[in-house]
């Protein structure tokens, strides 16, 4: 992970500030930085989203392709995640340097979405045991300024909301062979319901308190963090501790309560933004990559 070198004095300053609920940029312990979300930024994809959380910049593209369903789930499609850490974020990611981090993030995403209630995979089925839609969700990390998991989960949710899968019909002729016909209308498509898609809230333990949405500097002061995956209703679907330090069981319960609180607010604002963006329709001014 991209890291920043901090002196002991700077670490002490940050820790003391956090004890008083005052962070370096003036936020409270449970405040997020300003999040910018924009969908439909890459035209080659079925759905895309770009999220900027402070200086952390994530671009997610979803491509829908036809494939065969998995043997153990013949009536469902599935999602495949791939995370690419661009060398633009830090020169350490050049070549294969970003592979470790990319695999870690992709595995976390797989775990979150392995929950049956996150996405209704039955809508991705075309004909049982033969054809289904496979959604390739590709995450591109353009710039890293702390709190990668949160930003990535927000971007994945926004991209899935934006995904439009063409509607297909299966035609069976007399011999029993099946033919797949694409709808003539390019706007005739199926959308995924992202009501239950969770978002990750990362809580970093700094001193005796924990903070939400840590910057790179704050992550350098924290020895242990908790990744909590929260749905819009406040249900926790996945929990993971990262970092070399250890956590008290009481702190873990406290952090979980904070994450549920913060997660609900995050989901509400995200839904708001996504619906507002969609209601603007084709007249929306797109900022894209030039902003």
């Amino acid at each position: 992970m991209a890291s920043v070198a901090l002196s002991e004095a700077e670490k002490v300053y940050i820790m003391h500030g956090v004890q008083e609920d005052l962070r370096v940029d003036g936020r409270g312990c449970e405040d997020y930085r300003c999040v910018e979300v924009e969908t439909d930024v890459v035209s080659n994809t079925s759905g895309s989203a770009r999220v900027k959380l402070g200086h952390t910049d994530i671009l997610v593209g979803v491509k829908a392709e036809m494939g065969t369903p998995k043997l153990e789930k013949p009536n469902e499609g599935y999602l495949e995640f791939f995370v690419d850490c661009s060398a633009n974020a830090t020169p350490d990611f050049e070549g294969r340097g970003g592979d470790d981090l990319g695999t870690e993030i992709a595995n976390t995403l797989y775990r979150i979405f392995s929950n049956k209630s996150s996405v209704d995979l039955k809508t991705l089925c075309i004909s049982p045991r033969e054809h289904c839609w496979v959604l390739y969700v590709d995450v591109l990390l353009l710039e890293c300024d702390g709190n990668l998991f949160d930003a990535i989960s927000i971007a994945v949710k926004a991209a899935l909301f934006n995904t439009r899968i063409p509607r297909v019909r299966v035609l069976e002729d007399e011999e029993g062979s099946k033919d797949i016909e694409l709808s003539d209308d390019p706007y005739d498509c199926i959308r995924l319901s992202v009501e239950n898609v969770p978002c990750i809230v990362t809580l970093c333990k700094i001193g005796y308190r924990h903070v939400v949405d840590a910057t790179l500097q704050e992550e350098a002061c924290s020895l242990a963090s908790l990744l909590v995956s929260v749905t819009s209703k406040g249900a926790v679907t996945c929990l993971r501790k990262v970092g070399k330090g250890s956590l008290d069981p009481e702190s873990i319960f406290e952090m979980m309560e904070t994450s549920k609180r913060v997660g609900k607010v995050l989901h509400a604002s995200l839904q708001n933004i996504l619906h507002k963006e969609e209601s603007l329709g084709p007249k929306r001014q797109k900022v894209g990559f030039l902003g």
Partner: protein, 207 residues
Amino acid sequence: MKPYGFLAVPRCDSAWPAKIRGSRARALPDRALVNCQYSSATFSTGERKRRPHGDRKSCEMGLQLRQTFEAAILTQLHPRSQIDIYVQVLQADGGTYAACVNAATLAVLDAGIPMRDFVCACSAGFVDGTALADLSHVEEAAGGPQLALALLPASGQIALLEMDARLHEDHLERVLEAAAQAARDVHTLLDRVVRQHVREASILLGD
């Protein structure tokens, strides 16, 4: 660590050359080492790409970019250093090499690294007796001859020239001229943008 030079172009997102890097083992005693990496996002092309970088085409592009910029950057002014140019393609619709070179030129200028001249690039092709400049993906896929040209506009020197498929030598001059003219047009645009940016920056600094 923030990039020293950064530019976003609708099809190609380019990032920065870093000034001094740790790997002195690879450093050259009399000039700077230019290191380029070309990476294109898996969702950038119509068909999903399996690997963003590390495959043959990306490595080849990286080498071509390196050759182009070694010709333009004044490497003697920065001995025992390394300049990293990382190009990230977000969406590809033909002419990726040209877009990469144009974006990287601006990024290098933004980083303050001295160059001989702008490097402007354009692709060109030949269809039905007509020379075409700046081919789109559909035109590239049609299979005709394709030429990629990187030019240093002030002197007219060519930094990189590459051509695929067969083209009769009688037509070469026309195709080359089409690419060169398009590159010169790109230069006019880049020059105007850079001057405007410098003007705005100096106003903000209060000079």
